[in-house]
Amino acid sequence: MTTAQQPQPPTASTGPARTEHADETHSSPGLTNEELIRRWYQMVLARKIGERWFVLNRQGKAPFVITGQGHEATQVGTVAALSAGKDWVVPYYRDLGVALALGMTPSELMLNVFAKADDPNSGGRQMPAHWSHKRLRMVSGSSVVGTQLPIAAGLAWAAKLQGHDAVAVTYLGEGSTNQGEFHEGLNFAAVQRLPLVVVVENNGYAITEIQTKEMAITDVADRAQAYGVRGAVVDGNDLIEVHRAMQIAVQAARRGHGPTLLEAKTYRTVPHSSDDDDRRYRTREELDLWRARDPIDRLRKHLLEARILTSEQADELIAKATEELRGAEAFAAAAPDPDPTSLATHLYADSTTLPTSSPP
């Protein structure tokens, strides 16, 4: 039950002046009908994989999982504005949808949840959802929040110094924007005018803490003003709006106009992780309110109304996602586990041969 004393649940922003509003046609340049269908399918698949991860955890097959159900429009919509394999991406642990939309295969994602030796992210060293992939230029992150911001700034800096037109994109939750490194990294990127886009997936909670306990402002994007960079707020549950806002930010970065802080208002419809019980800190009514704004349902509705997709085709795609997931899981479950004797590999480039000096 929501009472007057309780903090209000987070809502999709009606927005400050900088908000990118939907236009009448509800479209975004660069998002063709085929692309919209492809991105909707990725949202469906990301959702299904996240749900499956939780089931595997409850079955005792994955000691820990962390996922991002509810964030799919933000994650897939931002990636849709990137040049995969050229732009640098530094995600955080919520970003299963970012990884999938960038090009990580369902099989790779399932290798990750089972912490298998062939998991391209970390080969079983990190907890699941700590993304890393060479071909996708997705740079490994730690579990320490906020550290990725200066690193992403540095990747953008390298691209600029090398004369490449790649941009760097990093993702974080609104809670992480309270870390010093968020501010230091954004300031550095602003001073050097770096091609950086910082995507804040504002789901209103830092684990159990509602946003009003995290900060005294409503829009994280307001923090951009302090550093002289653009801030924008977007409805993070609307893939088309997310793509539009992201495309503007990416183009500005690519054209040398510096960083953007893009805040997507969204909601995670699952606990923080498999070790969290969100009934401790939020009502089922609040959850229902956000389920009614489900990003996958919203895009499906648009696709049907705009006659881009039929209901039957949508059902077929959902069935296809289920099938794809099943195959990926079977493949990954049978893959080899990490070799315990590999504990010391990849410590240094020359980790097996320490130099020695001659005796006195």
Partner: protein, 326 residues
């Protein structure tokens, strides 16, 4: 013959490295104007604003940016103004740089050098005098060097920048202009992880770092007159430690005195002693001794407080005398 100081040697190394490799960039507070120790004097003029960068006063931010730039194909050298100010960047160095190769199975690597002046004797008080090598030596994934001579400083900076992994490069600030020598041409190559035998001897092995190395050599000179023959080993790198050189020194003399300026407890001397105790115990003729700064937070500002903290040739000689008499 030209006597080159450590400060000049490090500056020369920057010039050579930046001429050789366009990927090398230099960043830090006040480096465009030469830095507070004038190490980077003239580098902006020679290499321009696309190679030499003043940063915001923001150690975590610019160290993190250097990590990202290193992953992205650059070879950054970060100058931290005083090692005492590096603590905000520890999250970046320990959580990120040190673990990047390991956690990505070698996909992403951080060829980064972080230079930082350390050590006392310049009236730096609590926050401009500390030694922090032990803090970094406890972090697998980093390498930690602390050259004590101009030749080593110049050569090891080359090695550090060429190294594919993050290197913490510690420079004793009192030694910058105090220690001079003729640097051989061509510059010798010094590998990270190699100790150097500075003086051979039969009775006691003194194992030291940084300015304490020079104090140890002075002590050894004093003790020669008393017929105490000291071997002096310069660790040069504290991660990884040169175990064979340490063990050889211990086996050769049977008595070991470890000297460092950093305070005693948890200092690198404990690790050196443990290596010797574990692997050269049967060669020892006396308990391993350590002479180090006292276990107080840092050295005081007043010269009397500063001198009371620091090891010097006399205190080292006294410790060696006691050990010789054991």
């Amino acid at each position: 013959m030209t006597q080159t100081s450590i400060a000049e040697a490090i500056q020369s190394a920057h010039r050579e490295i930046m001429r050789d490799d366009e990927r090398v960039i230099l960043l830090g507070e006040d480096v465009e104007a030469g830095g507070v120790f004038r190490i980077t004097n003239g580098l902006l003029d020679e290499f321009g604003p696309h190679r030499v960068f003043d940063t915001p006063l923001s150690e975590a931010g610019f160290t993190g940016a250097a990590i990202g730039a290193a992953i992205g194909g650059m070879r950054p050298i970060v100058e931290i103004q005083f090692v005492d100010f590096i603590l905000p960047a520890l999250n970046q160095l320990i959580s990120e740089a040190a673990k990047m190769r390991y956690r990505s199975l070698g996909t992403w690597t951080v060829p980064l050098v972080v230079r930082a002046p350390y050590g006392g004797g310049v009236h730096g008080g609590l926050y401009h005098s500390q030694s922090m090598e032990a803090l970094f030596a406890h972090v697998p994934g980093l390498k930690v060097v602390m050259p004590a001579t101009p030749t080593d400083a110049q050569a090891l900076l080359h090695s550090a920048v060429q190294d594919p992994d993050p290197v913490i490069f510690l420079e004793h600030k009192r030694s910058y202009r105090l220690i001079r020598e003729e640097i051989p041409e061509p510059l010798p190559s010094v590998a990270i992880g190699q100790a150097a035998l500075r003086r051979d001897g039969q009775d006691i092995a003194i194992i030291a770092t940084g300015l304490a190395l020079h104090h140890s050599l002075a002590a050894a000179q004093q003790l020669q007159a008393e017929s105490i023959d000291c071997l002096v080993l310069d660790l040069r790198t504290v991660l990884p430690l040169d175990k064979p050189a340490i063990l050889n020194a211990a086996r050769h003399t049977g008595k070991v005195l470890i000297v460092h300026e950093d305070h005693l407890t948890g200092g690198i001397g404990g690790e050196v002693a443990a290596i010797i105790a574990a692997e050269a115990f049967e060669h020892l003729d006396a308990p391993i001794q350590r002479l180090a700064g006292p276990d107080v937070p840092a050295m005081g500002y007043h010269p009397a407080l500063e001198q009371a903290f620091l090891p010097n040739p006399d205190t080292i000689a006294q410790a060696a005398r006691s050990l010789a008499a054991y």
